[in-house]
Symmetry: C2
Subunit: 319 residues, 2 copies
DNA sequence: CGCCTTTATGCTCATTATGAGCATTATGGG
DNA sequence: CCCATAATGCTCATAATGAGCATAAAGGCG
């Protein structure tokens, strides 16, 4: 968009000016497919966990949504309960100067045997972001390694103003000194680490723990996790990750897996039935270890009954 | 994405398979630029209000954000305070079977003389969505025309199940029979009207009031309005639309203009200063008609102090 | 000048939402 | 029968939210 003041961008001129752009750009779709299995949030990967499933943009389907949905259902043998566009990355490629347009999607499903030549596999997303799992308290990794190294990076900054800014960002995104941990800042934390040269994608030397991915796939994954962590608080999307019937504790564990933190059990239950999100199936599950738990199912009707509802998480410090 | 089960989408194969796709797709950017002037939410349009500024995707800038920002600043002579990606539409064009990729952005700024050969002009967004302005109560248009015609459309449906679904959607998206109006459902309402054939974009006969736009620009605008209405409730973005100093009533009017509804004055003030979003400039404005109002400025520091803050609107039925 | 209109501000109150605990109830396993 | 493990039921204190009432400060006007 180099248009000067007299070169208004307009649909009418798009066709004629577009030739160069269309030839210079490559388009691909990238999917962040999430499932929760055994209290772990998992993401579908390929290439031995080094990439998200993605590919060229070509489809007989009328919309991207429909194309993606069809593809995922073939891959996972499960219907894709929920799908949402994440972000379109269209930055000029540093190497080739070619423009790569990457349209990313977030999809929620249930885990199944994925098949394909690229060895698709479900992996816990905390493999890529170990510092994001606070379910057992603050990860030791943070105080032991990440924060000191971030501080070192900030302090090494010559310019005083920039140094103060960096310190400020570290404090807020990682919830230090009095501030609280905000589980939604997944992307900001990753980008800070990237900027500080502490991830393999940015540097070769001495990265912080956490498996890397090809291209900017870890950034896309961070975007997906952040979006999902925000979304579960006001939309009943967790249910797309659950079996048809489940106990309230199973539901709670799924939420905790996604949020990376514990919630207060009784308050969680209060909230769930206040909103009328579930109904009893009439059966109970005896496999819980203690008193048998009632089984519930999601009241899918409410998706149409109310357009926007809340499933706010009652967040707590302890379990 | 016609990939069968054994044709995993992968980055590695993207380049080779991509040729056809790249040639078949045209890429353009579309901007929803918003300002608030004289208690009206306004959007920058071209072509006598029939289109949003948009154009081919070609830029010397490294990222789309940067390119868009530079372009808008040249056009509006104002810095673009806030910019965010809205959505990427990439549906197969009904006419040409060519794929048109349209990446849309939402930008907040302040109104200025826009110049250009396409006659850019700021227009109230309620020109395009007259039913979305509830500041003076429910628009008469709704009960008089829209709802009856939607009901007629639903009732004309032969299939009983589909008819019930349509009625249900009408009730919830328009907040009928006991439900309350949800100002965030801008897109859903527009799409319902589109489906019912009540907008000029979908049909030639007897559309409902509300100016149409070329292509799917009114849909993009609806997306932008919806996003902004949601955002002002938890992010202090309104300030990007304000002059450097303002009275609390001016701030409130801006929020009301965007939300399309009135808020409770005292509660609004309580909330604003609870969050510490503003500070007094020390001056007062005498042009308010009554008692002079203190002038405030946005405490821009808080954008870094806290990563996520709330500017929840205290919504009320009356002013 | 005193009254009225208009807007700015300060405060109170009822209700609801949220964060934390305590207590009791079922089951299966020593 | 005692225990550990969960599932559930309830209570309480505090914060957040929706509505009003009351007072203060200007300008316009008879």
């Amino acid at each position: 968009m180099d248009a000067g003041p007299d070169r208004t961008l307009s649909p009418g001129r798009a066709a004629s000016l577009n030739t160069e752009a269309a030839n210079a750009a490559a388009i691909e779709l990238t999917a962040v497919l999430v499932a929760v299995t055994g209290e772990e949030p998992r993401v579908l990967t390929i290439q031995d966990g080094r990439a998200l499933p993605s590919g060229p943009f070509e489809s007989a389907h009328r919309t991207l949504h429909m194309g993606l949905r069809a593809w995922v259902e073939v891959q996972t043998h499960h219907s894709l309960g929920y799908i949402e566009q994440l972000y379109t990355f269209a930055d000029r490629d540093r190497a080739s100067d070619r423009r790569l347009i990457s349209i990313s999607y977030l999809g929620l499903t249930r885990e199944a045997r994925a098949t394909g030549e690229e060895a698709p596999a479900w992996r816990s997303w905390y493999r890529y972001f170990p510092w994001e799992d606070w379910r057992a308290g603050a990860p030791a990794l943070l105080a032991a390694e990440i924060v000191p190294r971030l501080h070192a990076w900030a302090t090494a900054c010559a310019d005083g103003k920039a140094r103060a800014d960096r310190l400020q960002r570290i404090e807020t995104t990682f919830g230090l000194t009095g501030r609280t941990w905000n589980e939604e800042l997944v992307l900001q934390r990753y980008e800070l680490l990237y900027e500080a040269g502490l991830v393999p994608e940015a540097t070769a030397s001495q990265p912080v723990p956490g498996a890397p991915m090809m291209h900017d796939h870890r950034r896309i994954l961070a975007t997906g996790i952040a979006r999902l962590r925000a979304k579960i608080k006001y939309r009943p999307v967790v249910f797309e990750l659950m079996a048809p019937s489940f106990t309230l504790l199973q539901l709670q564990r799924a939420v905790e897996a996604l949020a990376g933190r514990r919630v207060h059990k009784q308050n969680f239950r209060r909230l769930i039935d206040q909103r009328g999100l579930v109904e009893e199936t009439g059966e109970v599950s005896a496999e819980t270890g203690g008193r048998p738990a009632k089984l519930f199912r999601f009241r899918r009707e409410i998706l149409i009954e109310r357009a926007v509802i809340g499933t706010k998480l009652p967040l707590a410090r302890s379990g």
